[in-house]
Amino acid sequence: MLLAELYKLSQLGAEKPLSFWLPEYNRIRTTAATQLQKIFSQLHETKAKQKIKKLIDLLSQENPNEFELTESLMALVEIVEKEKPSAKLSNLEKKFIQTTKDFSKLAKLKKVFAEKNEKLINSLSKEQRDQYDLRLLQNEGMMYCLEYYLVLYKALTETPDPKNKKKIFENQEINIDSADLPGLWVDFNGLEVLEKIIYPILDDELKEKLAVAYFEARNKILKIKTGETFTYQDCSLEEAIENLKKLIIIFFEAFRTKGIEKLSSRLLTPYGKQPRISDIKL
């Protein structure tokens, strides 16, 4: 079934950027393109036919433009939504619609920052670019990402009651250190750190490294929720905590690579005042 094939694509795309799952994409795309060709041959000279043609063209490529691919899939979503009232949608159709929208959101975010970063890279010298990344990590990276994750990680490890640990993942907001911080599921679902810190980084190598670690942790942590309920079926509480820890370790490495050795402790002080990163034992 064509929809099942396309759903596989959008499901993977909703989880991580296309470059991370190209081998899977190339395994799926041929079957999907062949089936789309059969539909194409039945259509009239309409806009709908053009949309199918566009999708076939994209699926014929081994490494297509991700944003265009999501646009093309979104065109199919629009057709399905127009043709069928939501009550009549099958589960697969609903899942396809939702994951394609998520895929599209992720691809748009990447595109926006790719364009913005390109302009900056072209207008800045190497030294200025390094300074830009350093400031980004020292300010947003430190407060909104590293120290935020560390505060919650410390709370997770020091709270003995699993119910309270779960609250740190599940709640919209958690009050720690006199600050109302977003819960971890909300944070990862909203792609906050990706948008605020990782994608704005100009150093491609560093960005790639952080993005890989981020998506690995995010995809695992988001699995604590099934549908509307936190079930911890596909990711246990321990696994979720472990994944957060791994991500923090990668952030530690990134900060130290850029010469940042201490936490700023401007707002959050999970491990005391300005401790050295190397002294923090997770």
Partner: protein, 373 residues
């Protein structure tokens, strides 16, 4: 306003621009959109005609290849650990193993998807109602996918891993346990009874293979030579506690219940998770089985009141040559169990003599017989 929001507004504006007059093409547009919607969910020709054999074959081969690769990486890692490789090398091998395991699970899922799609196609072809299809697929998932891809597949994987174990890695205890585990529950309990009571183990029974299930079962468990040498001593000297008999029943019951629970939750989406859970269940069973076996072994080498002597020998790893360090936790647990179920007062002469006999047999060439199996 975030950059993302700006982009979305720009796109909405683009969409609201005056569009071309649709007039005549309007109906065609509608027709085409209808076709697209129908075709998106139409089973493919292959699905309709049930011509899945090639795909099934291909995916099955993919699964076999992924399994082989995983087992190979597993063996490499075990060997590296055995040879005390550097931490960096172990880390790289562990990561490679994790990746290979993920690929293996993915191959299993892909194969399952094809099997389910083929089944669905068959049901559609038979013009079953949506409700009938749903119910038949649920049954198919439990009876076929779970049995074939969770239970049987895990068995294949474990057998391959065991076969690829470096010789030193697989202790005699594990070999004995594996052999014990392949027997039916009836035989296991029967053997346990023999081990723990000494009943029915006479030289006469051993001389006549048809003498009974007891003798046959026991022969499977230990090599014939061991049995012949032990027979008389056991018959006259042992009064076991039935420790393993109780444990065996408990382990089998627990595994059955837990497996049934997994089966009840089978779906294509959680196939990977269930495979991992079943794998963990078997590991748990193996550990508990080793405990049970140890309990039995100790019961065998000593009378009911001579446990500490037996345990000392076990802990020095002289009785069971090649007992891997990995077995230590289960050994500790086993000793706990035994200690809880017995009272220590001293070593009888009879037990001491028996112990020496058993010790010599295990220490001798018979161990090599076991290694070769």
């Amino acid at each position: 306003m975030s950059d993302l929001e700006k982009l979305e507004i720009k796109e909405r504006e683009k969409e609201s621009e005056p569009k071309e007059a649709l007039t005549q093409s309007l109906n065609l547009e509608k027709i085409d959109e209808g076709i697209i919607c129908d075709e998106l969910i139409r089973p493919t020709t292959e699905e309709e005609t049930g011509e899945y054999s090639e795909l099934i074959k291909e995916k099955k081969e993919g699964l076999n290849t992924a399994r082989e690769s995983y087992v190979k990486k597993y063996t490499t890692l075990v060997l590296a650990r055995e040879n005390k490789a550097y931490a960096e090398e172990l880390f790289t091998l562990t990561e490679a193993l994790k990746k290979s395991r993920a690929e293996y699970l993915e191959a299993k899922k892909t194969y399952a998807e094809i099997l389910v799609a083929a089944k669905k196609s068959e049901l559609v072809r038979l013009k079953k109602s949506p409700e009938e299809i749903q119910s038949a697929l649920a049954e198919f998932l439990c009876q076929n996918i779970f049995q074939e891809l969770v239970i049987a597949e895990e068995k294949i994987l474990q057998e391959k891993q065991a076969a690829e174990y470096p010789p030193k890695e697989k202790g005699v205890l594990r070999k004995l346990y594996d052999r014990w585990d392949s027997l039916s529950t009836v035989k296991k309990v029967l053997i346990t009874s023999i081990l723990t009571t000494g009943i029915a183990l006479t030289n006469s029974a051993l001389a006549h293979p048809q003498a009974g299930l007891e003798a046959a079962g026991f022969l499977l468990f230990f090599s014939k030579t061991v049995v012949v040498n032990l027979g008389q001593e056991l018959t006259s000297g042992l009064f076991g506690l039935g420790v393993e008999k109780i444990l065996t029943k408990k382990i089998e019951k627990s595994l059955k219940e837990e497996t049934e629970q997994l089966e009840a939750n089978i779906s294509l989406e959680n196939l990977e998770k269930l495979s991992e859970k079943y794998h963990a269940l078997l590991e748990k069973k193996a550990q508990r089985g080793q405990m049970a076996f140890l309990a039995s072994a100790v019961t065998m080498v000593a009378t009911g009141r001579a446990f500490s002597f037996g345990l000392n020998i076990l802990s020095e790893q002289t009785l069971f040559k090649n007992v891997a360090a990995a077995l230590a936790p289960s050994f500790e647990s086993a000793t706990d169990i035994i200690e809880k179920t017995t009272e220590f007062e001293g070593v009888t002469k009879r037990a001491s003599s028996l112990l020496k006999k058993v010790f010599n047999i295990f220490k001798g060439t018979h161990i090599d017989d076991l290694d070769n199996n």
